[in-house]
């Protein structure tokens, strides 16, 4: 984009070696490093403020490093909010949704990709149409269903609709459709039934797809806010996302406290991402190429 002259030179001597390219990547590094700083700054700033005193967090010019870094805000969060329970609630909701989607979506995805049955295309079309409808169109009736099941203000109520996913079904169908048929055929010839073929041959092959689905579901579920906000009422029943959303009205000006709560809420996903980076990126990329 920037320097066309050296590009021409490279065109003339395509194999002219590394020196040239290195020189040219200079601006690229500059842009990427500057960009990274912008991307990461809010997260770093959040951690810094969480270590400051309330007065420091509100001073101008801003305090870039507290005089006495303190974890007081973190202890305060645990004292003032049932945050351990909220983290547990978030975990339960996330685990339930992920488990549900892994089971249900891979079953349905496999059936759509490989099994022949009447009404298949109709059903698949119906499932896909769900993808096209914005979430707001489901929320009011969903809430009433949860209400009639007496699951308002419970983690099960938050989790339930998310056990099923049109998107996940579609993702798994695309994945199964891309797998070679030969192994399956061989298993059939060996006399394996549908269940065994699915569970023992296809499911292990679909592992990357399942990992992608897991990552996308976990990420969505942990950070999901609107639905838990609707279904849960009290602080002690809320997942951490909804709790932080309502917190803003109350402790709005106790910045270290809010930042500490935010850091705690985000930490699990950040750690998970750091550990499973490759899978995260492969999962998203898979969605792009297959989804």
């Amino acid at each position: 984009m920037s320097d066309t002259r050296s590009r021409g030179a490279r065109g003339a001597r395509p194999r002219s070696g590394t020196v040239h390219i290195k020189q040219h990547n200079g601006p690229a590094y500059a842009i990427l490093i500057l960009g990274s700083a912008v991307m990461v700054f809010p997260l770093v700033w959040q951690v810094i403020v969480s270590l400051e005193s309330t007065e420091e967090s509100r001073s101008f010019p801003p305090v870039f490093w507290p005089a006495h870094p303190s974890l007081a805000a973190y202890t305060a969060v645990f004292e003032q909010l049932p945050i351990a329970r909220q983290l547990l609630t978030s975990t339960l909701i996330t685990v339930a949704r992920t488990a549900g989607q892994l089971v249900f979506c891979s079953l349905a995805g496999y059936a759509f990709a490989r099994l022949r049955f009447p009404g298949r295309n109709l059903m698949f079309g119906l499932f896909l149409s769900v993808l096209m409808v914005p979430g707001a169109c489901f929320l009011i009736p969903q809430y009433q269903i949860i209400q009639s099941l007496h699951l308002v203000d419970t983690w099960q109520g938050v989790a339930l609709p998310g056990l099923f996913s049109a998107f996940g079904t579609f993702l798994m169908r695309q994945f199964f459709a891309g797998l070679p048929r030969e192994l399956e055929e061989a298993a059939r010839l060996d006399g394996a039934g549908t269940i065994r073929t699915f569970a023992q041959i296809m499911l292990p092959l679909a592992r990357p797809g399942l990992v992608a689905l897991t990552i996308l579901t976990v990420l969505w579920s942990w950070n999901d806010m609107l639905w838990p906000l609707i279904v849960t009422t009290g602080q002690s029943k809320m997942p951490i996302s909804a709790s932080l959303a309502t917190l803003q009205g109350e402790h709005m000006t106790n910045y270290p406290l809010m930042m500490a709560g935010a850091v705690i809420a985000m930490l699990p996903m950040i750690v998970l991402f750091m550990v499973l980076q490759r899978q995260f990126i492969a999962g998203i990329a898979f969605q792009g190429t297959k989804g």
Partner: protein, 321 residues
């Protein structure tokens, strides 16, 4: 690889999918019957789940949109009253414009994501992994949590942003309170949090482009700019199409950031309220679920229209190899 994307998004739906082949013709009926049974058994849980929680509710919402609700439940059919109110409600007009503007800002993030993905994909660039991690980090953050620090950054009195501006002699505004800046400020957060995600998608698309094509282009003396325009963009177009659809759908549904960044007494609320925000305010805050349903229907129509437009013009610019 990338060609599969298109098949995935457009083809599969339109054409259905190829019949499982390779079976001897004239298989016994019983086998097919059993397979049908398994097919239905496999999709049954999802069919019930999606039916109960998504498909039926979508129709229920349409039905609710013709009704009015009491303070403590109970609703009566009121015909087109909600729709009549909808067209005269100034808040809806604001929300519609704001939603479109916000989506437009997100769309502006797409070229940026392509550009950065192209930079990261350069051969011999060191630290690809580190850059990818750093750019992706905002994607895994929780909106409810990250909004807090953005509020602080944007604070008109002691925010870091205004501090940085003051160093170059600019007196920054109250970003989130100023009707001229509030939506833009929130849009920046939207771009910030989706940039890494889009970069990964574009990266995957770029990697699927055969390197030989670039070598040929270089031998032909094409500049990098020309390569980008005539090679990269057309070959990337299925991914661009996919990301555009995704961005529009997400943009039309923006709620979290608006809810978190602007309260009802925010002087800029007219300029930042969006359709889903109004849906929540009317449907759940004011307990007017009939009116909330009308807004939901409006969001659906808007999404449908824009997705349809996208699909109808895709033939003109999306290049399936």
């Amino acid at each position: 690889m990338t060609a599969l994307t298109a098949a995935g998004l457009a083809g599969a739906r339109v054409k259905g999918q190829p019949e499982p082949g390779g079976r001897p013709v004239g298989r016994r009926r019983a086998t097919r019957f059993i397979e049908s049974g398994w097919g239905w058994a496999f999709i049954l849980p999802t069919a019930i789940g999606l039916g109960v929680f998504y498909i039926v509710p979508a129709f229920t919402t349409i039905w609710f949109s013709f009704s009015s609700w009491g303070a403590f439940g109970g609703h009566e059919f009121t015909g087109l009253d909600n729709y009549r109110h909808l067209v005269t409600d100034p808040d809806i007009g604001y929300a519609l414009v704001n939603t479109l503007l916000y989506t437009l800002m997100l769309l502006c993030g797409i070229p940026l994501a392509i550009y950065l993905a192209a930079l990261i994909n350069r051969e011999k660039l060191k630290g690809k992994g580190v850059f990818r991690t750093l750019y992706f980090l905002p994607v895994v953050t929780m909106p409810a949590a990250i909004a807090m620090v953005w509020r602080l950054i944007y604070n008109g009195q002691f925010g870091v942003l205004n501090y940085a501006l003051s160093l170059v002699g600019i007196q920054g505004p109250f970003w989130l309170q100023d009707p001229r800046w509030a939506l833009l400020s929130i849009g920046v957060i939207g771009v910030w949090s989706s940039l890494g995600y889009n970069m990964i998608l574009f990266s995957a698309g770029l990697q699927a482009i055969p390197k030989e094509l670039y070598e040929v282009a270089m031998i032909d003396g094409a500049t990098r700019g020309q390569q980008f325009r005539h090679l990269t963009v057309p070959l990337l177009s299925p991914t661009i199409f996919f990301v555009t659809i995704l961005t529009i759908i997400n943009g039309f549904q923006v709620f979290d950031l608006i809810f978190l960044m602007a309260g009802r007494s925010n002087p800029a609320i007219d300029r930042v309220q969006t359709l889903v925000w109004l849906f929540y305010q009317d449907g759940f805050y004011s307990h007017n679920m009939g009116y909330g349903s009308v807004i939901a229907v409006l969001i659906f129509l808007l999404t449908a229209v824009f997705t349809a437009i996208q699909f109808s013009v895709q033939r003109k610019w999306v290049n399936y190899v």
